[in-house]
């Protein structure tokens, strides 16, 4: 995603491009807030939308132009918006809320989606036996260094990574095909 295009679209009021890019950024920010801060989906969505409104305003005022600065600004503002939201809720129901929000480890499981899981299951079943065996071994032994996996399958470390990426790419393509079908 090219953030300089986003900045230009905002400056030129190119609504079609803005809408397209805003959808992509919103999705990233929502996932960021749910995974990193354990935000619930609706709060994350509100915060992401507020964040984009603030960022667009900043770009229009010429205070935000560099693509890297835009990315950092989006994440920082999204976090800030979330904490603001949580503090507001805390004023209402102070006793119900935990004292800390940042100490939790990342909640990667929040990315799980039942529909995607069912599709993935079908894709895994259709996977070549060699690939299935490989990816099973990879994820069943998360503590193993890649060199150990490579050694187990009699391949080089580079090939071990390549093979893992290949299996993930095959699964990604399979999921996309089934979703778009």
């Amino acid at each position: 995603m090219d953030y300089s295009k986003f900045v230009n679209a905002v400056l030129e009021s190119d609504e079609t491009t803005i809408t397209k890019q805003v959808n992509v950024i919103t999705s990233v920010l929502v996932k960021f807030l749910t995974v990193r801060l354990d935000a619930d989906f609706h709060t994350a969505q509100d915060c992401a939308q507020n964040t984009l409104l603030i960022a667009i305003e900043k770009i229009r005022d010429d205070k935000l132009t560099h693509p890297d600065a835009v990315i950092n600004y989006l994440f920082t503002t999204a976090k800030h918006e979330y904490f603001k939201q949580v503090s507001k809720d805390r004023e209402v129901k102070y006793e119900d809320l935990p004292e800390h929000h940042s100490s939790k480890p990342d909640q990667l499981k929040r990315l799980l989606d039942d529909e995607k899981m069912n599709i993935l299951k079908r894709c895994m079943e259709a996977l070549k036996a060699d690939y299935k065996k490989y990816i099973d071994y990879w994820f069943q032994n998360p503590e193993y260094e890649t060199s150990v996996v490579a050694d187990h399958f009699g391949i080089s470390v580079n090939n071990a990574w390549t093979k893992k990426h290949r299996v993930i790419n095959v699964l990604k393509e399979c999921i996309e095909k089934k979703i778009n079908f």
Partner: protein, 265 residues
């Protein structure tokens, strides 16, 4: 877009899922996701794959769980044990000391051999070292079956010194603790044969070999192994001396000239 940058990021994704990234790396990774949301798709897919595989493993484990026996079988077993103990006590001929008093019941996991690199950080950790360390971890976590697989992998693919002797020694220790003395004996013998330049491994191999042989009643051969452990003059010298005395007594051999008696405190 299969370039080195993407490969690096995909390796970071793998590390992220495995909880191996620090805060700065995680934020850097999210910056990458913001620039390339396709990589966030990869993260999502990997999280799903991991979850699915973990669930499959859990299902297999729960299916293979041991079924509980009805309560009466436990009562019957307890009664049988009481009867057997009573009979053994009745027919037992008392001797001043029993051989099993001198024999190791369980070998501590601390006796397992891991990589030298654990203690000497300047040494490079090889794949065989990692496998030995993982085997040690598996034993500590109570997964002896997995540990044996790992030690077998070292034997199959890295049967050079010091890995071969270490892997066989570790395998022997696990098997000994599972009371599979015959297999343990074979492993200890292999370890003793392979070892080069490590008195510690030799000593352990002979000492545990002697103990395993006693467990299956091969006292003559056990005596030879214990004598070797004793002659190596290391950490097992004193228990080896006591065991040799007992073995000589039981074998009707009171000739102590064969080994040099140490001064015991």
């Amino acid at each position: 877009m299969e370039n080195s940058r993407e490969l690096e990021i995909r390796q970071k994704i793998d590390a992220y899922i495995k909880g191996k990234l620090n805060e700065d790396d995680i934020q850097e990774l999210w910056n990458e996701f913001a620039q390339n949301p396709e990589l966030l798709d990869i993260l999502e897919i990997e999280v799903h794959v991991k979850e699915l595989i973990e669930k499959e493993v859990l299902n297999i484990k729960s299916e293979s769980r041991i079924h509980k026996l009805p309560t009466w079988t436990w009562h019957a077993a307890a009664a049988a044990v009481i009867v057997i103990v009573a009979l053994v006590q009745f027919f037992r001929v008392e001797t001043p000391t029993q051989l099993d008093q001198f024999v190791i019941q369980q070998i501590s996991p601390a006796e397992l051999e891991t990589s030298d690199g654990v203690r000497a950080k300047e040494l490079q950790i090889t794949t065989a070292d990692s496998l030995l360390n993982l085997g040690f971890e598996a034993v500590i976590s109570g997964n002896e079956e997995r540990a044996l697989e790992l030690f077998d992998e070292v034997i199959a693919k890295h049967d050079e010194e010091p890995y071969g002797s270490k892997a066989f020694l570790n395998k022997g220790i696990v098997l000994y603790n599972e009371a599979d003395y015959e297999s343990a004996i074979l492993a200890f013998k292999e370890s003793a044969q392979r070892v080069q330049d490590s008195r510690m491994i030799s000593e352990k191999a002979f000492w545990y070999l002697g103990n395993a042989l006693i467990n299956i009643g091969q006292l003559e051969e056990a005596r030879e192994a214990v004598l070797k452990a004793y002659q190596l003059d290391g950490m097992f010298r004193n228990p080896a001396f006591r065991l040799l005395k007992k073995l000589n007594n039981d074998l009707g051999n009171s000739d102590y000239e064969e080994f040099d008696a140490p001064k015991l405190n």
